[in-house]
Amino acid sequence: MTLKALAQSLGITLKYLFSKPVTVPYPDAPVALKPRFHGRHVLTRHPNGLEKCIGCSLCAAACPAYAIYVEPAENDPENPVSAGERYAKVYEINMLRCIFCGLCEEACPTGAIVLGYDFEMADYQYSDLIYGKEDMLVDVMGTKPQRREAKMTGKAVKPGYVVPYVRPELEGFRAPTEGGKK
């Protein structure tokens, strides 16, 4: 320990005093997520609007936490819901059990279920943490509590994250990207 070292160390801290803090003031400012972040699941659609999910239950079989419940039904040929023979009449994920490992995404033969970015799912009741189809289809923005709040305040859902770009698997999912592009 020399006087020089002491003086130099003062210089180092002074330099940091005038540099920008690295803290992300999270609820006020969005968190920067990576494009492959594992967040709330998204059920994607084909460009023609048909659901990709064919109700095969492979995701439920792959799920290590037994968090997924799928109940398939036959498509009406006149007015199909999905692109295949059958579609998922009920598609539920228990977010309390889900460990966001992404195995469902890997198991899916049609690329219907993709892990998205939403992570602010904290809620008051168990029943509210079971997400159905209506909570996970691509056009839905935000999580259940976020949408509930948006409904109450009359404001749009404000996600707490931002991503550099939306990965192509999340076809049609509108996530806030850096630079404001949607």
């Binding site: 160390s9 005093l17 690295v22």
Partner: protein, 363 residues
């Protein structure tokens, strides 16, 4: 020097102002220190309560008042309660003697509470009484950690008091008065005292850090070794009183260094009453926080060795030199040259940096 005395009610009012001012300053210093330390560590610091965290001190106060006030079973109840009060009262007393502006500049009254011919001695006596607060707290707690912490603080405070006191003798000899107003006036006429007594200034600044138990010398609260030091067993408002004592010592030290060595409220140009004094205090507060953000804590033996083996001899040698110059009636410019020389020695020490030598025992 004699200045017209203020009526008693003005003195009482000023005393009240000083107390309120110091307590407010304490509250906001905690916030400022936390925010500054955070910025030094590239964090944001507390910014949730009120606009940019400005109401944090209020929240802290409410919290510390309503926390459970524990008194441990083995504690000596009377002294346990008395110790923090002693600390705070004597810390508050010290500030009154410091002049903040030219005589008669406080709405026609004097900008100080006390004008004592014994000024410096009074400050010493009062700020030393704070050791009783610390020591009694450690003793009355009936806890090993508290006792060890208080022993440490008392030993380091008493050791550094020597360097501090002898460093002060140089300016006192030059000015020929213990009165703080006289010291400031002398500096107004003859130039700031750090020019005449640079080593004494350095020793005083370092020892003042130790007196306020600030970072390189903050052994009393070395959490890693002593849990909480002398206030381990204290909680709630009593603990807050100890924090208060510490911060008031810190503020007083930051006000005393400029008063004694940097011309107090005076400035060679653009003299605005109060402004320069407050700026100088703010500078030293910032410097001490900066040091806290940067340097590490000394080991206990290093602390004592530094105090006795370096600060004390340097202060003593400079005191003897000053005494020689004053006693033989030599021109004061000799002291200026010697001060400049010591400054050069310090600079040389900054640029001369040998590889650290490792001796046995990890010294």
């Amino acid at each position: 020097m004699n200045y017209p005395l203020d009526p008693y009610w003005v003195v009482a009012l000023k005393a009240l102002l000083v107390v309120i001012g110091l307590l407010t300053a304490f509250a906001f210093m905690t916030l400022i220190e936390r925010r500054l330390l955070a910025r030094f560590q590239i964090r944001l610091g507390p910014n949730r309560v009120g606009p940019s965290g400005l109401l944090q001190p209020v929240a802290d106060a409410i919290k510390s008042i309503f926390k459970e006030d524990l008194v441990v079973e083995k504690a000596d109840r009377v002294l346990f309660v008395l110790a923090p009060l002693i600390g705070v009262v004597f810390a508050l007393l010290a500030f009154g003697a410091i002049p903040f502006g030219p005589p008669g500049s406080f709405f026609g009254y004097q900008p100080w509470v006390l004008n004592l011919d014994l000024g410096l001695l009074y400050l010493f006596a009062v700020s030393e009484m704070a050791i009783y607060g610390i020591f009694l707290a450690g003793w009355a707690s009936g806890s090993k950690y508290s006792l060890l912490g208080s022993l440490r603080s008392s030993a380091s405070l008493i050791s550094y008091e020597l360097g501090l006191g002898i460093a002060l003798l140089a300016p006192v000899l030059l000015v020929g008065s213990l009165n703080l107003q006289d010291i400031v006036n002398w500096q107004k006429e003859n130039g700031w005292l750090f020019l005449y007594a640079f080593p004494a200034f350095l020793v005083y600044a370092i020892a003042a850090l130790a007196e306020a138990a600030r970072t390189p010398f903050d052994l009393p609260e070395a959490e890693q070794e002593l849990v909480g030091g002398y206030h381990t067993e204290y909680s709630s408002i009593k603990w807050a009183l100890f924090q208060m004592t510490e911060y008031i010592h810190f503020i007083t030290a930051s006000a005393l260094i400029p008063t004694l060595f940097l011309g107090g409220w005076t400035m060679p140009f653009l003299e605005v009453p109060y402004l320069w004094m407050f700026l100088k205090i703010a500078f030293f507060l910032f410097l001490f926080i900066w040091i806290r953000a940067t340097w590490f804590r000394l080991r206990y033996d290093q602390l004592l060795r530094f105090g006795w083996g370096f600060l004390f001899p340097v202060a003593l040698v400079w005191f003897l030199i000053t005494a020689l110059v004053v006693a033989l009636g030599l021109p004061r410019s000799y002291l200026l040259y010697l001060s400049a020389l010591s400054f050069l020695v310090l600079l040389a020490g900054l640029f001369y940096s040998p590889k650290p030598v490792r001796k046995g025992g990890g010294a």
